[in-house]
């Protein structure tokens, strides 16, 4: 069976429409799954239309690749823990980048064989390779940092920006040289430099900025697909690439806005590094005039509260405390205490990370509120429980003009009647800034692992409360 070029073009159009509808489905959780199915249908149509088109004649290698990819992809998708989602996403970004590079090189070889090379095509190929290679190696670094294989600390050296600029200029120059002369040496050198550039661009960025980096690499992977579309004169790839590219760009923008920083500041500047563990957490806290509380104290206030708002952060993910949170919510709701969760846009290691973890624990999404929705409610809440979040509740961002995080929008947890912060130590947040919330009269710290503390609260509540 073979389909005509026009029929194939129509199929690609249908596929592009389905992808737009898939993204549109994510407007609301209720329509999201249907959206995902539309996306699958779009992909199936695109692949089918390509396989049955006139260009594809040999199927052996294709079949092997698709089957291999299907097995690996399915295993990854089914096995991955929800807390590790940022790593999976980073790995998948790197695959798109590498695939784009390989497609560009393969296209070059095929076109050279058929004597169909021209300057414009080779320019487009160069762009595809550079973007794809940066996406690949940048994502590998991001994966390493998220997985803890390489240190999450920013790696900086003198003249870093100059070095990056020099590499970028050299890569582009080689690309131009390649387009003009078909020089294989230039092509190889350009590819190598682009891989290096991906490393050097992402290595200086610290762990706390990962939500921006994940979004940014998401965007790059889209542009890589679009560049591939230009080389192949394939409009479907161009459309999809633009959609994905913009998706990542908008997420990067939202993340930066939530930290009151510009994208340039994240890429080229950035704040301090993560410091080591403080030796004696409680002792240090007393010294600093911070109150510490027992689990029972918190339960005492929570069991009769008009409302409890929980602010989860990356610490909750690290401690895998989301299921304990759900139990705590159920215990409190059984006592007619409404429980809400407040999510800051940059909580966690990727956009929306907390929402997925809470959904995994079977917490209904109506109980999970975004920053703008929940902020007016803090002042009327009896209890706020901060679990593994730090900078996103620091009032210094509002009050202290000299603070490095001044201007960052925060969750106004400090306005509640009682604030309990579950923390492992007095270590400051990723920004390295002292959290002024801890010194407020209405705030007490509960030292311990988020999961242990939450389970302790549940046990106390089950035992008849305080």
């Amino acid at each position: 069976m073979q389909i005509s070029v026009n029929f194939q073009a129509i199929a690609y159009l249908v596929s592009a429409v389905l992808f737009v509808l898939a993204l549109k489905g994510l407007t609301h959780p209720a329509s999201a799954r249907r959206g995902n199915y539309l996306g699958m249908a779009g992909m199936a149509i695109a692949i089918g239309a390509t396989l049955f088109g006139s260009e594809v004649q040999s199927y052996g290698f294709i079949l092997a690749g698709v089957v291999g990819g299907a097995v690996i992809g399915t295993i990854l998708a089914m096995r991955i823990k929800m807390t590790d989602m940022p790593q999976l996403v980073a790995a998948l970004h790197s695959f798109v980048g590498m695939a784009a590079v390989l497609v560009a090189i393969g296209t070059f070889l095929n076109k050279r064989e058929a004597d169909l090379l021209n300057g414009v095509l080779m320019g487009e190929l160069s762009a595809g390779i550079i973007i794809g290679a940066i996406t690949f190696s940048g994502s590998v670094i991001a994966f390493g940092k998220l997985q803890g294989i390489i240190s999450g600390k920013p790696v900086r050296f003198m003249g870093q920006h100059a070095v990056n600029a020099a590499i970028a200029i050299a890569a582009v120059a080689l690309g131009v040289h390649f387009a003009l002369t078909e020089s294989m040496t230039s092509l190889v050198l350009m590819t190598l430099l682009a891989f290096i550039l991906g490393f050097t661009l992402i290595i200086p960025i610290g762990g706390a900025d990962m939500p921006v980096i994940v979004s940014m690499l998401n965007s790059y992977s889209g542009w890589a697909a679009a560049a591939t579309g230009f080389t192949l004169q394939n409009h479907l790839l161009i459309i999809v690439g633009a959609l994905v590219g913009f998706s990542g760009a908008i997420l990067s923008y939202i993340m930066c806005r939530a930290m009151n920083r510009s994208i340039w500041n994240v890429i080229f500047g950035g704040f301090g590094s993560e410091s080591g563990d403080a030796p004696s957490a409680v002792g240090e806290a007393v010294e600093k005039g911070v109150k510490s509380a027992a689990i029972e104290d918190a339960v005492y206030w929570m069991e009769d509260a008009n409302k409890v708002i929980i602010v989860p952060g990356y610490g909750m993910a690290v401690a895998q405390a989301q299921h304990a949170m759900k139990e705590l919510m159920e215990q409190l709701e059984a006592r007619d205490v409404p429980v809400k969760f407040a999510i800051h846009p940059v909580a966690g290691r990727m956009p929306g990370h907390m929402n997925v973890l809470l959904a995994e624990a079977d917490i209904p999404y109506d109980n999970v509120l975004e920053m703008d929705e929940i902020n007016p409610e803090f002042s009327t809440a009896d209890v706020v429980l901060v679990v593994g979040a730090n900078d996103v509740v620091n009032p210094a961002a509002k009050d202290d003009t000299s603070s490095p995080i001044y201007g960052m929008p925060i969750l106004e947890a400090g306005k509640a009647k009682n604030v309990f912060v579950v923390k492992r130590s007095m270590r400051p947040g990723y920004s390295g800034v002292e959290n002024l919330l801890y010194y407020q009269d209405n705030c007490s710290l509960i030292f311990g692992d988020a999961k242990d503390v939450a389970e302790g609260m549940v046990t106390t509540l089950k035992g008849g409360g305080h």
Binding site: I47, L76, A77, A100, V244, G248
Partner: protein, 95 residues
């Protein structure tokens, strides 16, 4: 109009569609959004198929194409399935 210019038209207009559609996505679904865009950027598989399946393809290009198909397929299958897994967890209150 040259093909490259047509492609540019398509690209620029698609950027606008992307801009408006993505701003409509609810923040609680941003992680599934990243996973779904991962899956659909696996569309480079189309390019990989075209490279690999060409009748006159050289062995080198065929092997390069094989790896491209493999990587893009991981994205397609892994991306859609993990998105589905995540979305299945989002539920309304039973009450």
């Amino acid at each position: 109009m040259p093909d490259t210019l047509v492609a540019l038209y398509v690209f620029v207009l698609s950027c606008f569609i992307g801009y408006y559609v993505i701003w409509g996505v609810t923040p609680s679904l941003h992680t599934p959004l990243v996973a779904l865009t991962n899956a659909i950027s696996g569309i480079v598989i189309v390019g990989a198929l075209l490279v690999t399946g060409l009748e006159s393809v050289s062995t080198t290009a065929e092997i390069i194409g094989f790896f491209a198909v493999l990587l893009a397929s991981i994205n397609v299958f892994g991306g859609f399935l993990v998105t589905n897994r995540m979305l299945a967890m989002f539920r309304k209150d039973k009450k």
